[in-house]
């Protein structure tokens, strides 16, 4: 019986043991995983935000969707224009008999032929065609009559209903040439919605004729319309080889066979002014292709040697006046003469076709060559879908090829993100952050440089303010203060580290900023006066308070004795500052600053940030530096004091050098915190992304920029990804700083063997 019992217990014990052991192993396994999960988490965060940012730098993708020979078009007809709808379902060609042939993009089967009736009647063939934005075609017939029309795919707009394969041709303007007018060589029209049409003709002998309908209203409200006509041009360098007109019909551009680019201002239709004549080709190659980039500011120019560049008026002096056409963005060179340039209707991307028959896709702002398309045979005409997602082209044998394009972020390159870029309307390359605007044809300016600059500026000013205060305070607290007092002071400052940054930001923005704004001169006086008052207080103390009793009493309490001195300093500088302001700056320093030094004064400026951000990092630096100083073994300082060094000599020459790595690591941690601080800079600066070291200006930091812009950024759009990229930058900045700090601290700990 008894033996059995023992056996039972031992088997039960075995069970317990094995269970305990199993639990132990399981726990060890889980805990090890938990530990490694921390590393994983850090890497995972970095990988994830990088993954979102990375597509910015991917090359655009393109693929052939379909390729076929058009059989439904008359063999004799020559194709003069081609296009496709936004869903890449249906395409069309315009041939020289003025007929649109609509075909299915997959099979190439022609489904419809839609002839355009020439206004002059009868059968006419097309003399020239110009494509304008929005699938508009200006057709000049051989007899000199003119048709402006628009092509739409009404079915393609709504995805569910409607036949996607119908083409709607809307005639916008029809004009018959009267016999008194000469036969135009080329003709362009602009028909703004609800406004008066304008037509420009290129005539023989470098002459242009302009016709603009104007409607005037008299007092009774009767409308009278008349057509203003004028002729201009004539004596020009070379012969006009290409022309382009901007969207509003305000500027006419012409290129000549001597390599000149001319620009006329047509705002007064009665007397157009020739404003610019510039040589675009140094070697005198004829200008073969000319078109305006989306937004109508820049003009893209291609010549017979294949050079391709964009131009817009900029003033050389930078004074805003006397603007002349200037070469802004040289784009990648073509192998042969540039024949035609089509702008995208979404971005500043340009699709240019050259004589050898290949199509190049370039982005103007980033100057990136995005893609090149060619087939075996040289292509003669090309068209771009409205959503910039496809290119269609045709060669001499009527073989049509359709490419689809996936090109989500053409405007991004390392240069546009970090370098100076010459944006439209600027007089020189600049670092600009301006992510959005009211109009669609806006050129996004996504330079991270001003933001990085702002981040560094804020951090630097804050550190200049915070590091001396925090480190000196830490030295005093750890070396000279009475230990009993230290037990109160140190936790008090540690608690300050927990003060939410939104609280500091609020006080800085709504309390301190108006205060400093009102008392800016007293503030500067205080910077000089307060140290002076402190030095004087020390002298006075030395002179009168240096009896033994006083000295002993003050030892370890010096900072308390100085508080009245500081308050006195504040009072004196206020009084003095008000006086100085009225004497030196006629009572208004800000006005003086602007008038004399030309510096703008923002209420929320870098001084405020230095204070607020400084206050946020002081507790951090203070606590860690104090720990480092306190952890220096006591025997070192005891030995120093024993051989007769004073308490300052001990602290400065013995304790401080030993604790240096720890102190350095404390400063680094503070630096890291200041770089990433968001709420304070968001609330206490004006968030203007300017690059200026002035202490009277605000700035915008990477972190505040994310907070401001990300709620508005469309998911997975360019701005969204650029903001993720700035988060990656912040992560990497702080990662390096923290890693250096941590390695230093580990070394320091090893040295003194303390936790």
């Amino acid at each position: 019986m008894r033996k059995e019992g023992v056996k039972q217990t031992s088997s039960m014990n075995d069970r317990i043991f094995s269970r305990a052991k199993r639990n132990d192993r399981l726990a060890a396994w889980l805990i090890n995983i938990g530990g490694l999960l921390v590393i994983f988490a850090v890497i995972w965060i970095l990988v994830l935000i990088m993954k979102v940012a990375l597509p910015l730098f991917l090359e655009p993708k393109a693929g052939v969707v379909a390729s076929f020979t058009l059989t439904g078009v008359a063999p004799a007809a020559e194709i003069v224009g081609i296009g496709t709808d936004d869903n890449l379902q249906t395409g069309f060609v315009l041939d020289d008999s003025g007929t649109f042939s609509v075909f299915d993009n997959r099979s190439g089967k022609v489904m419809e032929t839609l002839p355009v009736a020439p206004p002059g009647g009868g059968r006419q063939s097309v003399a020239s065609v110009a494509e304008a934005p929005g699938r508009r075609y200006d057709i000049l017939w051989k007899d000199g009559s003119f048709t402006a029309l628009k092509v739409d795919f009404p079915g393609a707009e709504d995805r569910d209903g409607g036949d996607a394969n119908t083409l709607l041709i809307t005639t916008l303007l029809e004009e018959v040439r009267t016999a008194s007018h000469p036969l135009p060589l080329r003709s362009l029209a602009r028909i703004p919605e609800g406004k008066n049409p304008l037509r420009v003709n290129l005539l023989e002998g470098n002459r242009f004729s302009l016709a603009k309908k104007t409607v005037s209203e008299d007092l009774a409200g009767n409308e009278t319309s008349r057509t203003v006509r004028s002729e201009f041009g004539g004596d020009l360098p070379g012969t006009v080889s290409s022309v382009a007109l901007d969207g509003k019909g305000e500027f006419l551009y012409a290129g000549t066979d001597t390599g000149h680019l001319l620009r006329w201002d047509l705002t007064d239709p009665e007397s157009p002014q020739l404003t610019d004549t510039v040589k675009v080709s140094e070697e005198g190659h004829p200008v073969t292709a000319l078109n305006l980039v989306l937004g109508d500011v820049s003009v893209a120019v291609g010549d017979r040697a294949g050079s391709f560049s964009t131009w817009f008026p900029a003033s050389e002096t930078g004074l805003g006046s006397g603007k002349t056409l200037t070469r802004i963005h040289p784009l990648a060179k073509h192998g042969s003469a540039v024949e035609a340039v089509l702008p995208s209707q979404r971005s500043k991307t340009l699709f240019s076709l050259d004589k050898s028959g290949s199509i190049n896709v370039d982005h103007m702002t980033s100057e990136r060559r995005l893609l090149t398309f060619s087939t075996g045979k040289p292509l003669t005409h090309h068209g771009v879908s409205g959503r910039e997602n496809g290119v269609i082209a045709v060669d001499r044998d009527k073989r049509v090829t359709l490419w689809s394009i996936d090109n989500p972020h053409p405007e991004i390159s390392l240069k546009t993100l970090f370098g100076a870029v010459w944006y439209e309307g600027y007089d020189k390359p600049a670092f600009v952050w301006q992510s959005s605007s009211a109009s669609d044809d806006f050129e996004p300016k996504l330079s991270l440089t001003p933001l990085i600059f702002g981040t560094l500026k804020g951090t630097l000013y804050a550190m200049i303010f915070a590091v001396p205060l925090a480190l000196l305070g830490a030295i005093y607290t750890s070396q000279f203060m009475r230990p009993r007092l230290k037990n109160y002071v140190k936790p008090a400052i540690e608690i300050m580290a927990a003060v939410p940054s939104v609280v500091i930001g609020f006080l800085a923005g709504l309390w301190l900023a108006p205060l400093v704004d009102k008392a800016i001169v007293p503030f500067f006086v205080a910077v000089a006066v307060i140290p002076l008052v402190v030095v004087m207080a020390i002298f006075l103390w030395q002179k009168f308070g240096s009896t033994r009793l006083f000295k002993r009493m003050a030892k370890g309490y010096e900072f308390l004795f100085l508080i009245p001195a500081l308050l006195l300093g504040v009072y004196v500088s206020h009084a003095l500052g008000v006086m100085l302001e009225s004497v030196l700056f006629a009572g208004d320093f800000k006005l003086w600053l602007f008038d004399v030094l030309g510096t703008r004064f923002d209420q929320r400026n870098s001084i405020i940030i230095a204070f607020a951000l400084g206050l946020a990092v002081i507790p951090l630096i203070f606590t860690m530096a104090e720990d480092a100083l306190s952890n220096v073994p006591k025997n070192l300082s005891a030995a120093s004091l024993a051989i007769g060094a004073s308490r300052w000599q001990t602290a400065w020459r013995v304790v401080l050098p030993s604790a240096l790595p720890g102190i350095f690591s404390a400063v680094m941690i503070g630096f890291g915190r200041a770089i990433g601080e968001t709420m304070i800079v968001l609330m206490a600066t004006g968030n203007t992304p300017i690059m200026d070291w002035s202490i009277f200006n605000g700035f915008r930091t990477l972190s505040a920029n994310i907070a401001v812009e990300i709620p508005e950024a469309p998911v997975f759009g360019t701005l969204y990804r650029v903001l993720f990229l700035s988060a990656v930058l912040l992560f990497i900045f702080t990662f390096i700083i923290n890693t250096v700090a941590e390695v230093l601290r580990q070394k320091f700990r090893k040295k003194y063997g303390r936790f």
Partner: protein
């Protein structure tokens, strides 16, 4: 003198000065918040000021400063009556003041809209009320206001019933949507049943709505006529009045009880006037909810990681890397966590949940937008390092002898950990948790990206299934400060409220971290004596 310099006494004083400056700044920060935040609710007396140009104003002195030109002072009065004057505050030069009196019958009204009204009571119209007319208009007003507030509460109850109803119909709508999404023909019977139930509910709702509208219209009828300082009459419906008082007749005790009432309102009531008046209850509730939910995620993970570092890992390269990783987690800017939370939790996981479980509601997101769950998870990652560091300190302070004792008695490592080490390290863990909570309560930047809103219509916790709605957006004290202080149209009028919020947040955070630091210091001491 020379030895004075050589010995470095001035330098010591210099370091002392640095500390004094720091402490002074801290005191100023706390002082400014306290003075501005505490004073806001105190009903100060209203002065009737007659100016030399013959005009009059009635208001509370809110600030004084030196006059710019003359030698006198400038006084700022809070004159209220935003709807009449356009501005709440007015600056007056002292020399322009002819007389100042403190009339007993001056009335201050807190209104639902347009801020305070300062003036005098003229008459009360008791249309549709049971309260009798008392001896003085003021007594009549008080009685009538009491009755109106009772009626308002009844109305609010009806409103609550209606809100429940409409949320039920919304649930039904979503259910119907789900059913028809998964197959309209297969679930036809169920759909028609639910539809008829929904329609019945809607009909009931309409009946209630009509009753509700009638009563609320009736509530608008009783009104009182007031005059402002200049004698201009103003008709104010009693329903628009939140509180009416005569500060000049109130004693210290009456003022103190008024103050207590305002504090109660602050803590328990809903905000009014786009958050610049009224209470902070939803913001306090949202903050607490979010912090608690965050603790559920960050505590276990932080403790496990700390136990790994202290008890299981062998000192070596991996541990060094883990420590660097922990420090990096602590040092990465909080906005980066917000960006991560937005990309990973909201659009990644949340979008995935939506596609899997709520495809019928798309493109309206359910989990694929900011919410309290995603905010808590984001802040959990942010605060894990705090828990790790603090728990490690706690574990380190457990004497080696105790561990060895337990192991020598035959306990396994895990048993030792569970029964000996962790209980003794509890103060360290608690410290870490409290510090993490304090950090989370004050953090705003990441929350702005992952689910905080200026005004949430519903709390994340309520009486409808599943009670705790982790997908809802929420309000937060810190964001409240940013939003009211920097995004509201009338910043000057909103400032006092922001100071109150700041004071509250600061008090919570400082109290929590003082407790944590106190616990940590105590813990250090306890084992410091035992270890040797």
């Amino acid at each position: 003198m020379g030895s004075f310099w050589k010995q470095g006494e001035p330098q010591v004083w210099g370091t002392a000065a640095a500390l004094s400056v720091t402490l002074l700044m801290v005191l100023v920060l706390v002082g400014v918040v306290m003075v501005n935040g505490l004073g806001f609710f105190w009903p100060s007396d209203t002065a009737l000021v007659a100016l030399t140009d013959g005009s009059k104003l009635l208001g509370q002195v809110s600030a004084t400063e030196k006059a710019t030109h003359a030698h006198g002072k400038r006084l700022q009065f809070k004159v209220g009556n935003r709807d009449l004057y356009g501005q709440d505050f007015r600056w007056v030069e002292e020399r322009d003041i002819r007389t100042i009196s403190w009339p007993h019958d001056s009335v201050v009204l807190e209104r639902k809209e347009n801020g305070n009204f300062h003036g005098f009571l003229k008459s009360v119209s008791l249309e549709g009320l049971a309260a009798p007319a008392a001896a003085s208009p003021w007594e009549t007003l008080r009685g009538a206001l009491k009755e109106v507030s009772g009626l308002r509460n009844t109305l609010a109850e009806t409103g609550q019933v209606m809100a429940d109803m409409s949320s039920e119909t919304e649930q039904l709508r979503l259910k119907i949507l789900k059913l028809s999404h998964s197959g309209a023909t297969a679930n036809r019977g169920e759909i028609s049943r639910l539809t008829s139930r929904r329609e019945k509910l809607l009909a009931q709702f309409d009946v209630l709505l009509e009753r509700f509208n009638e009563s609320s219209e009736a509530l608008e009828k009783p009104a009182a006529v007031f005059t402002d300082a200049a004698g201009e009459e103003k008709d104010i419906p009693l329903n628009a009045i939140v509180r009416a008082y005569r500060p000049n007749t109130m004693g210290v005790f009456a003022k103190a009880s008024f103050y207590a009432g305002k504090v109660r309102e602050l803590l328990l009531d809903e905000p009014r006037e786009s958050n610049t008046e009224g209470g902070l209850f939803p913001a306090i509730f949202g903050t607490v909810m979010m912090v608690l939910l965050m603790s559920v995620f960050s505590l276990p993970f932080g403790v496990v990681a700390a136990v790994y570092l202290r008890e299981y890992a062998r000192e070596g390269l991996i541990v060094r890397i883990v420590r660097i990783a922990v420090n990096n987690l602590a040092g990465v800017p909080s906005i980066v966590y917000g960006v991560f939370g937005l990309g990973f939790f909201v659009y990644g996981i949340g979008g995935g949940i939506d596609r899997l479980f709520y495809p019928e509601r798309l493109p309206t997101p359910t989990f694929g937008t900011g919410g309290i769950l995603w905010a808590s998870l984001t802040l959990a990652i942010l605060t894990v390092p705090v828990v790790i560091v603090s728990t490690e300190e706690g574990l380190a302070s457990v004497p080696k002898g105790l561990r060895e004792g337990s192991l020598s008695l035959g306990a396994t490592k895990f048993q030792t950990l569970k029964n000996v080490v962790l209980p003794m390290a509890t103060p360290g863990i608690m410290t870490g948790l409290i510090l993490a909570m304090a950090r989370a309560a004050g953090e705003v930047a990441p929350l702005m990206l992952v689910g905080v809103v200026k005004l949430a219509p519903t709390l994340p916790l309520d009486g409808t299934f599943p009670f705790f709605h982790v997908d809802r957006k929420f309000m937060h004290l810190g964001f409240h400060i940013y939003d009211v202080g920097f995004q509201s149209p009338n910043v000057e009028a909103a400032k006092p409220m922001v100071f109150v919020t700041t004071l509250l947040l600061l008090a919570i955070v400082i109290a929590a971290s003082s407790l944590a630091i106190h616990m940590r210091n105590k813990m250090k001491k306890r084992y410091a004596t035992k270890a040797f």
